[in-house]
């Protein structure tokens, strides 16, 4: 791989131990994928350090203790507890204390500590043709498809890229891989974020690891709906990018070519199948209703506040609304938070049901004594949350629209989308 003199200086250890280790790893990654050189990155969304995984917070602490600093603007991904109001989720105290150690380590490295899967709603908004890295697949698809930034679906090495400011040029950092591979004709009329997660999920059931060109939507989706569609297809199909002409830079309805693309149709029954598959009849009485996957935007919080205004959540049911710290701060001392909290709903940041101590697929240090609580079923308004509740919490889900999820929480009976 072609390295600059700066890359070589980092690699030979002249810039210290941490950067050397980071660059060695990035060079190996680049060689594995035949990258011809490295790019300068402008943004890094990095691993939080997760307290529910043995030795994981220590990975970040080790970097911090060696004096590592983020070279580029950066943000932290979702964590395993709400580090502020953790008592309302009954998170074990040992877990909270361990998670807070990661927060301290990130502060010393200069990472923007938003601990969220939606750093864009916390002000991290990479622009067109900015090379970037992201540990969160939802951030990858949002950045590639809506902002026109250039990102792969990364793992831990997003941290190494953030520290060195460099990343091997492969995958979605190459223009040739950012062209549509399939045409998707939408013959359904999705409305609201839950429908758009289902639409994305349905696309990912037809094609995987592809760049779908989305056509046939009657209205331009709003930002929350675009976000929802992206996370849906990233969840079921491993997609890193979609192309929606007049949304995805630089594609417009005039310059787009659809010739010779394999074509798939998505109709109303494909959407309905996604909802039905996540309500398969095995569910018992639900104990939690969840909104905010991915972490809610300010606009979504306004919507929830309107739906909850003057309502009361049914006894023995918890309504969780997950968002990031920035959005939470924006609604502090407003009528929005009054409407939400007086209904009995809980606002939670830094984590969500699948990322908190409910997960059964995690491998915590036995010394923490973590025991996931018994949960009968969870009502969700997101296909992503539904899928991972099944996979990680091993409990049934009930998937419906945002409006009907709120109604379900209020009346205590599940209200399906259709």
């Amino acid at each position: 791989m072609l390295l600059t003199s700066n890359d070589k200086a980092i690699l030979d250890g002249s810039r210290g131990e941490v950067l050397q280790k980071a660059m060695e790893a990035l060079v190996q990654l680049g060689e594995a994928f035949d990258a011809k050189d490295m790019v300068d990155i402008g943004y890094a969304h990095v691993h939080a350090g997760m307290a529910l995984y043995k030795g994981d917070v220590e990975l970040i602490e080790e970097l911090a203790s060696l004096g590592a600093k983020m070279k580029v603007p950066s943000s932290t991904n979702i964590a395993n507890v709400d580090m502020g109001s953790w008592k309302q989720t009954n998170a074990p105290e040992k877990l909270v204390l361990l998670q807070k150690r990661a927060e301290v380590a990130h502060q010393s490295m200069g990472t923007g500590g938003c601990f969220t899967c939606t750093p864009y709603w916390a002000g991290h908004w990479p622009t067109w043709n900015t090379h970037m890295v992201s540990i969160e697949s939802g951030v990858t698809i949002f950045s590639n498809s809506i902002l026109g930034a250039l990102s792969n679906r990364d793992g831990y090495f997003a941290t190494y890229a953030g520290l060195t400011g460099r990343y091997p040029r492969f995958g979605y950092h190459l223009q040739e891989n950012r062209k549509p591979t399939h045409l998707i004709k939408i013959e359904a009329s999705p409305s609201g974020t839950s429908d758009f997660t289902a639409l994305g999920y349905a696309i990912g059931l037809k094609i995987i690891n592809a760049v779908p060109l989305i056509s046939g939507l009657k209205l331009r989706p709003n930002l929350d709906e675009l976000d929802a569609m992206g996370v849906g297809m990233a969840t079921s199909g491993g997609m890193a990018m979609f192309v929606l002409p007049d949304v995805t830079p630089p594609y417009t309805s005039e310059n787009i070519s659809i010739e010779n693309l394999p074509t798939f149709k998505i109709n109303e029954s494909d959407l309905r199948l996604v909802y039905d598959d996540f309500c398969n009849g095995k569910e018992q009485n639900f104990d939690i209703v969840h909104l905010g996957c991915p972490h809610a935007s300010y606009e979504e919080m306004k919507h929830y506040a309107k739906l909850l205004n003057g309502k009361k959540i049914s006894n023995n049911i918890e309504l969780w609304i997950t968002t990031n710290r920035t959005v939470r701060e924006m609604i502090r001392n407003t009528d929005l938070i009054k409407s939400i909290e007086s209904s009995g709903a809980k606002i939670i940041s830094d984590t969500c049901p699948i990322s908190c101590h409910f997960a059964r697929t995690v491998s915590p240090d036995p010394k923490l004594g973590i025991k996931p609580p018994k949960i009968n079923a969870v009502v969700v308004d997101s296909a992503k949350q539904a899928r991972y509740i099944r996979d990680m919490i091993h409990c049934p889900t009930l998937f419906t629209s945002t409006e009907k999820a709120v109604e379900s929480a209020v009346c205590g009976n599940f209200i399906p989308r259709w």
Binding site: A25, Q28, L29, E31, A32, F33, M50, Y53, K54, G55, D56, L59, I135, E136, S137, T140, N152, R153, D154, G155, Y156, F157, G171, I208, N209, A234, G238, T361, S363, D391
Partner: protein, 143 residues
């Protein structure tokens, strides 16, 4: 007796390891198919179900995708249940490669098909990830 034979594939992750071959004809998911704390394969889609991957040279055609794969590979290492090396046919996902570099598990790709057609389970293999070289130290045929 030893019967030395070398195979060459595409070097992916550096490192040297020796261990018994554990051969699968099916793709493996590091997120869904493994019990991290025991190293046992639990995924029903895998033909290795019930077997332990710990300290083996894991020979699989491909890895099934998850952006979180790196974390589970690193967790296998934390619980000392990681494979000694991984040999694949298809190039693994970036996340798998990142996890293996972090956990210091050598990977060679473009080779699993040849190995699984030539070598028996439990044959002792030596893997050199930097050279992309697999040496059969003991093919178990002469026992």
């Amino acid at each position: 007796m030893s019967n030395k034979q070398d195979f060459f594939g595409q070097p992916i992750v550096h490192g040297i390891a020796t261990g018994p071959a554990l051969i699968s004809k099916k793709a493996i998911s590091f997120l869904g198919d493994l019990n991290i704390t025991t190293g046992e394969v639990t995924g029903e889609l895998s033909d290795l179900i019930g077997k332990k991957i710990s300290k083996t040279i894991l020979v699989v055609p491909s890895t099934r995708g998850s952006a979180g794969a790196w974390r589970f590979i690193y967790q296998l290492k934390q619980f000392e249940n990681h494979p000694a090396a991984i040999i694949t046919t298809e190039l693994p996902d970036p996340s798998v490669v990142q996890g293996a570099i972090l956990a210091k598990i050598p990977i060679i790709s473009n080779l699993a098909n040849i190995i699984s057609n030539t070598i028996l389970n439990n044959a002792t293999l030596k893997v050199d990830g930097r050279l992309g070289k697999v040496t059969v130290v003991d093919d178990k045929n002469n026992k």
